[in-house]
Amino acid sequence: MALNKKLLLSPRKVDITLRRLAQQLIENHGDFKDTVLIGLQPRGSAVLQKLLEILNSQASSKIASGTLDITFFRDDFRRRDTPLQPSKTKIDVLLEGKKVVFIDDVLFTGRSVRSAMDAVQSFGRPAEIELLVLIDRRFSRELPIQPDYSGQHVDSLIGDKVLVEWQHLGATEDAVYLETGDNE
């Protein structure tokens, strides 16, 4: 089966989108006093890192952040062929009473986000949780979960793949592609 790789977001578009998302966060969270940004492992932490670069250049104080791995909270344990390998969780602040923003690259079925809502309780009960995603794959949700901040939405088929590539992780440039099978 031939694969078609279509550019969704060019490097310039990725940058513009991240800056817009950062502005929206500032609009809602002001000085980020009670806010903690949490990147969902493994790929959300790359988006988090990019957003922090933008936010830290504008904010006066340091923004609290962390990464959360959801492997042990997934709902497909013993239902997959091979178990997923866990990544690092690093949350140095208590989340009790904090405003938490989950950050991920692609929102697809919503199951990761559900697992994350479960996993985050181990660090305290947040006052509220919001969701920021770079790409929202619409109409493919399996759970009633929607993003509060979305970079770009895309209509795609179940077999399609959204690839988010980052220069700081070894790709040639920051870009987002849609990989589709030869469906015709």
């Binding site: 997934r74 013993r78 178990p83 305290g124």
Partner: protein, 313 residues
């Protein structure tokens, strides 16, 4: 590679290097989990584990039980002294009766070498060996190797000495196999009466000189003198053993380098290890205990992942 090559954990003998690496990687994530304010994950909430201890154990049983509970598994405990084993039931019957009550995994300690392997051939369940006679104690070896790796960064090319009663020790054999698979060099040291004949055939060296061994090694794992397994006298007196093969502050400080001290517990303070050494900065005894829970969580998690939920009934 994110899957174990084996269905059971019967011994280190049955693991390959990538299995051990996978267990270590998973264990380091679980170590982070057990240091959270809420130390529990829901992965094994639909799994029941039976801990069958046909021989006394406090530490290993507690460590397994905590590991199981932190993975949200249901746990049943069984100890031989309070069971129908004393009424003459066979091992297979005992275990099949427990499995009939829909238990998914069995953690077993047994005084007979090979008991875990035997069980794996005769019952339909996942078996984890928590020590079988003087044969193997795989989770102890894994947590020891994990603790060394954590302290020294790697096991490759490291020199590890195992000191004490090698003859009666299941910890020694599992440790030797595990450390070798991870690329470390092993030497055993102890009274000649407590070193098995032909132990060099495992590809290790042996010595009856403690100071020389300590100068050679990066890590010394001091085994417990197992009074309960010694019907015969293997050395003249505890005092003499302690002088020849026990480690104290003077011996430790007389060495030309700082070595790491380990002990699988329970410690006989003043026999194989002095109080000052056990409580010193060079000792990682309590790290071993903490890592024990994380490593056992990793083993349980990775083996449970290989089972499938049966929705057909």
């Amino acid at each position: 590679m994110s899957e174990l090559s084996t269905k059971h954990l019967l011994g280190i003998k049955y693991l390959v290097k990538s299995d051990i690496e996978l267990i270590f990687e998973t264990a380091s994530q679980f170590k982070e989990v057990i240091n959270r304010p809420i130390k529990k994950v829901p992965s094994m909430r639909d799994i029941t584990v039976a801990n069958l201890f046909f021989e006394n154990s406090t530490r290993t049983r507690l460590s397994f039980e905590l590991a199981e509970k932190r993975l949200s598994a249901d746990v049943v405990n069984f100890s031989a002294s309070s069971s129908s084993v004393s009424k003459g039931e066979t091992l297979i019957d005992t275990v099949n009766n427990i499995l009939a009550m829909k238990v998914d995994m069995v953690v077993m300690r047994h005084p007979k070498p090979g008991a875990a392997y035997f069980l794996s051939q005769n019952v339909d369940s996942i078996i984890i060996n928590a020590g079988d006679g003087a044969h193997e104690h795989p989770t102890q070896a894994l947590l020891d190797a994990f603790s060394i790796k954590e302290r020294l960064g790697s096991l490759e090319g490291k020199k590890i000495a195992i000191v004490g009663d090698i003859l009666h020790s299941r910890v020694a054999l599992s440790n030797i196999l595990c450390l070798q698979k991870m690329g470390a060099e092993v030497r055993v040291c102890g009274p000649a009466t407590l070193l098995p004949k032909h132990i060099e055939s495992l590809g290790i060296t042996k010595s009856t000189n403690l100071i020389e061994t300590l100068e050679w090694c990066d890590v010394a794992n001091m085994l417990r003198v197992q009074h309960e397994r010694q019907n015969l006298k293997f050395f003249p007196s505890i005092r003499e053993y302690s002088q020849m093969f026990g480690i104290d502050k003077k011996k430790l400080e007389g060495l030309s380098k700082k070595i790491v001290i380990m002990h699988p517990g329970p410690i006989n303070r003043g026999v194989e290890i002095s109080t000052e050494v056990a409580d010193s900065k060079q000792s990682i005894i309590l790290d071993q205990v903490e890592n024990g829970v994380a490593v056992r969580m990793a083993v349980l998690y990775l083996l449970a992942a290989k089972t499938e939920i049966n929705f057909s009934n």
